[in-house]
């Protein structure tokens, strides 16, 4: 055992706005991954829907809610960081390990697990989750890998532990969204510390809903700067300067840099000598320095007593003009802060109708975390604080992308003792991605800033009245809309439900897909729930369309409440009937032809017709939860369908007619290795006399596929 020096300092120096984890040596140096192009994490097999733990001190409890999909959540969290194309970061496809627990921090097996052993539970304490990064504390030989040279600060191993006394979910059924938590923890694995920007993924708490699933500009700045892409990387400029008070440096001032036009909001921290130097994308930045205490305390950034004692009070101070930064150049911007401590404290807020007065809704909130406001609307922001006393000398600014703020007004309502409520009208342009904004209030010589206090999110999505249709019926217009079955491939239409140009996840299981092996539950910022269960998403686009798989978890439900979310904004729910099966065939090459493969695997067409007596494979969806006469079939929502049991190859007992003649069905089931795609294998009756385009239809239990589709017979 060697003793370490007592000065343990977790703060990075002021090189960057976001805050990086460092070694605890003297001097501390930022830790950094050396495997950033191939980071292999394993998900412990304990982390499944319904996982429980007995390590809670109060008996066994559910750690992962029953309707959650933690595998998809973990993969989506990884995909979020991998999707930053301007950064050289690549998490490898997540693997599953049976390893029951974190073995040794330096074992090289990087595991996401639920804390189990006493030592692990002790380390997690009352955190929701935590990430431990093991790093080389000196340059030299890796003590665990003879002959390997390591550099001080190299991360050699990382593990993520979930608190067994916390209930996580991916379906909104508990307060703690697993995907958001894991996105945050993978950020730590990349060496990001917590940030002072409230709306950022790396802000420690509290973050409403699933917003932390989406990386903010502050998070992007971290990963772009620490792991720049080798070519075609995003270029940066630098803002540097000193924060001073009456000519003396101000240690550890918080800094904010916002380019409203680009929607960039980056936080920073000055060094002990008041200097700072921050890399930012080129742009024009509204810049201010603020003291600790409004929302962020020294302890939030893990200051020692010595460091905390160096912080001082001053008024949040805004530079008069934006700081313009060009690529690969440095702009100086020192901030001379105003003295004194603000009397604008204990701020409360509410919302009201745009331009109105006296419509105070009756609820006031204190700002303890980012507040989400849907864009594409005008509304009034109501504010009150004992330090806000008069319209004289009062200014209220909300700086962020697409925000116009009107002049302050007095509401006709007052609080106890006559304390006034002020209001400003916000006109919010429609955004396609969340953008944090900064609140800056001035009353005479007093100021208050809340960095990232309000996150402007895309407009509230609206699902069209008949907006949920079978993906097949969308093509053919034959199958009725508004009814869903478990596992079915459907299309949801509406306004604001998807990005204008969305990614395509690929249909089904593929090793080159968006999320390997499983479909994502959040694609391009879009997610959809059925009775609270996240639906896997195939495609989003046009702002109006989402292709998805209906979760199997709604089997045996009478109805499904469907909610579409985009960029942190959620639609009002619609309710649709649930049926056991809703079979339908895809069409190709024309909308009147069943999508069929001949026995030799070639596509069935008018010039490549199938022979009588041969077998054809017809592709579709909507066969529901398969029943194999008591044989278990563990199909997972969003996952590749497993091979069916050989003892029963006709799931749900389908029959088929071709040209009005009964055709023996050899197989019905979900297409092995794919999601939401079903197949039927049927033998064309040798007695069939019809040729050319011959009608084909499958039926079971009173439901049938389309009646007007054909297959080509020769």
């Amino acid at each position: 055992m060697r003793r370490i020096l007592p000065l343990i300092f977790l703060l990075a120096v002021s090189s960057f706005g976001y805050i990086r984890l460092t070694t605890s040596g003297t001097p501390p140096v930022p830790i950094q991954r050396v495997d950033n192009t191939g980071i292999q994490f394993y998900l412990n097999s304990l982390i499944v829907a319904g996982a429980t733990s007995s390590q809670t001190g109060g008996g066994s409890m559910t750690v992962i809610s029953a309707n959650s999909n933690p595998v998809v959540a973990a993969r989506a969290a990884i995909a979020t960081w991998n999707a930053v194309s301007t950064a050289n970061v690549n998490f490898l496809p997540l693997k599953i390990t049976q390893t029951p627990n974190i073995q040794h921090a330096e074992d090289g097996l990087m595991v996401v697990t639920i804390a189990y052993a006493a030592d692990d539970v002790s380390a997690v304490g009352q955190a929701l989750a935590f990430t431990v990064n093991e790093y080389a504390a000196a340059t030299g030989t890796n003590p665990y890998v003879p002959g390997q040279t390591v550099v001080n600060g190299d991360i050699l191993d990382s593990d993520i532990l979930l608190n067994p006394a916390v209930q996580f979910s991916t379906d909104g059924s508990t307060s703690f969204d697993l995907q958001a938590v894991l996105t945050h923890e993978f950020g730590h694995a990349l060496s990001a510390n917590h940030t002072g920007v409230l709306g950022a993924t790396m802000f420690q708490a509290p973050t409403p809903g699933t917003i932390a699933r989406i990386l903010s500009a502050d998070d992007l700045s971290f990963v772009n700067s620490v792991y720049p892409a080798p070519s075609g990387a995003q270029t940066f400029g630098t803002i540097s300067g000193t924060v001073t008070l009456s000519g003396s440096p101000v240690p550890y001032a918080l800094l904010s840099f916002t380019d409203p036009a680009q929607g960039i909001n980056i936080g920073g921290l000055a060094a002990a000598n008041g200097t700072y130097s921050i890399q930012v994308p080129p742009g024009s930045y509204t810049t201010y320095a603020e003291p600790f205490g409004s929302v962020v305390q020294p302890g939030n950034l893990y200051f020692t007593v010595t460091q905390a004692a160096q912080t001082t009070t001053f008024q949040s101070t805004l530079l008069a003009s934006p700081v313009v930064v060009a690529a690969n150049s440095t702009t100086s911007a020192s901030v001379a802060v105003a003295p004194g401590s603000t009397n604008i404290t204990s701020l409360f807020y509410a919302f009201g109708g745009a331009g109105k007065t006296g419509d105070f809704s009756g609820i006031l909130h204190s700002i303890v975390g980012p507040v989400l406001i849907p864009s594409g609307q005008s509304l009034d922001l109501l504010l009150t604080s004992p330090g806000m006393t008069s319209l004289t000398g009062l200014s209220i600014a909300l700086t962020g992308k697409g925000i116009a703020v009107g002049a302050p007004r007095l509401d006709t309502t007052t609080l106890t003792g006559g304390q006034p409520i002020f209001r400003v009208t916000l006109t919010l342009a429609s955004l396609t991605a969340p953008a944090p904004s900064n609140l800056f209030i001035t009353q005479g010589s007093n100021t208050l800033s809340h960095t990232g206090a309000f996150v402007i999110v895309p407009p509230t999505p609206v699902i069209s009245a008949a907006g949920l249709v079978s993906a097949v019926s969308d093509l053919t217009g034959v199958v009725g809309s508004g009814t869903v079955s478990p596992g079915e491939y459907v299309t949801l239409y509406g306004s604001g439900v998807a990005p204008a140009t969305g990614p395509y996840a690929g249909i089904g299981y593929t090793n080159t897909g968006y999320v390997l092996g499983y479909l994502p539950q959040n694609l391009g910022g879009t997610s959809v729930t059925f009775n609270g269960v996240q639906a896997p998403v195939f495609f989003t686009g046009g702002g109006t369309q989402v292709n998805l798989q209906v979760p199997f978890e709604i089997a045996n439900h009478q109805t499904a409440q469907v909610i579409a979310s985009f960029g942190g904004s959620a639609s009002a729910p619609i309710t649709v009937p649930v049926v056991a099966q809703h079979p339908a065939l895809f069409t190709f090459p024309a909308n009147t032809n069943a999508y069929t493969a001949n026995q030799d695997g070639s596509i069935n067409t008018s010039t490549n017709a199938a022979a009588r007596g041969s077998y054809i494979t017809v592709v579709g969806t909507g066969i529901g939860l398969p029943s194999y006469t008591g044989i278990p079939y563990p199909i997972q929502t969003g996952g590749p369908a497993p091979a069916p049991p050989t003892a029963d190859l006709n799931a749900n007992g389908y029959t088929c007619t071709i040209g009005g003649v009964t055709a023996p069905v050899a197989f019905t089931g979900w297409y092995t290795g794919f999601a939401a795609e079903a197949e039927w294998i049927v033998q064309i009756p040798a007695s069939l006399s019809a040729t050319g385009a011959v009608p084909i239809q499958f039926s079971t239990g009173g439901v049938s596929t389309q009646s007007d589709l054909t297959v080509f017979i020769k």
């Binding site: 007592p6 539970v121 955190a127 935590f130 000196a138 020692t304 303890v368």
Partner: protein
């Protein structure tokens, strides 16, 4: 309902709504929860620190010896050792975001809980660490500013902001009052 009563109800409802948000790190603890969860609440000065592995060799813990000057809850001798995960041993280091750090010479009031491996660590991560300035006033280590208790009006809310800037003796008195209340409740039960 008169206007005053209406306003009180409004603020209460608003605050309750405000604290239902989720978090990605440490759940916020009220002062009462902090006290209740802690086995020991003591003041003193950090006299030395060192780091070692836990028994399963999973985590490095940094140990801090605190020379005790005041005991506000629980029983403590002249010194206690508190432990926080993370640190460096034998050329290897462990970095854990959010881990509480102390420095030799720090004067603090600490709320300490006993964790399953037997160590005493700061309750609620940095929420249980209060730094004592040269005038004897305490400053909260990690709780986010905001209102932890349901308030009756804004003026009251201002007075009851989280513990920050109060005298050490006042903090001690609040802890003692909470402990007495808990004992009384247990006695009733």
């Amino acid at each position: 309902m008169n206007y005053l009563a209406r306003t009180r109800a409004i603020l209460t409802a608003g605050l309750l709504c405000a604290f239902t948000a989720s978090a990605t790190s440490v759940p916020r603890l009220s002062f009462e929860e902090l006290t209740d969860r802690s086995e020991l609440v003591v003041s003193g000065q950090i006299s030395r620190s060192w780091a070692d592995w836990d028994s399963s060799h999973h985590f490095i813990w940094t140990r801090y010896e605190l020379a005790v000057s005041g005991v506000y809850k629980g029983a403590a001798g002249s010194s206690v050792v508190l432990s926080e995960p993370g640190g460096e041993v034998g050329g290897m280091g462990q970095s854990i975001a959010g881990s509480v750090r102390y420095a030799v010479g720090d004067k603090v009031v600490v709320f300490l809980e006993r964790v399953p491996n037997g160590y005493l660590r700061t309750t609620g991560w940095s929420q249980g660490k209060f730094m004592v300035d040269s005038s004897g006033r305490v400053h909260g280590g990690g709780a986010l500013a905001g209102i932890d208790l349901v308030q009756t009006n804004v003026a009251q809310a201002v007075r009851d902001l989280p513990v920050d800037g109060i005298a050490t003796s006042e903090l001690a008195a609040r802890v003692a009052a909470r402990v007495r209340r808990q004992r009384k409740q247990r006695g009733v039960q």
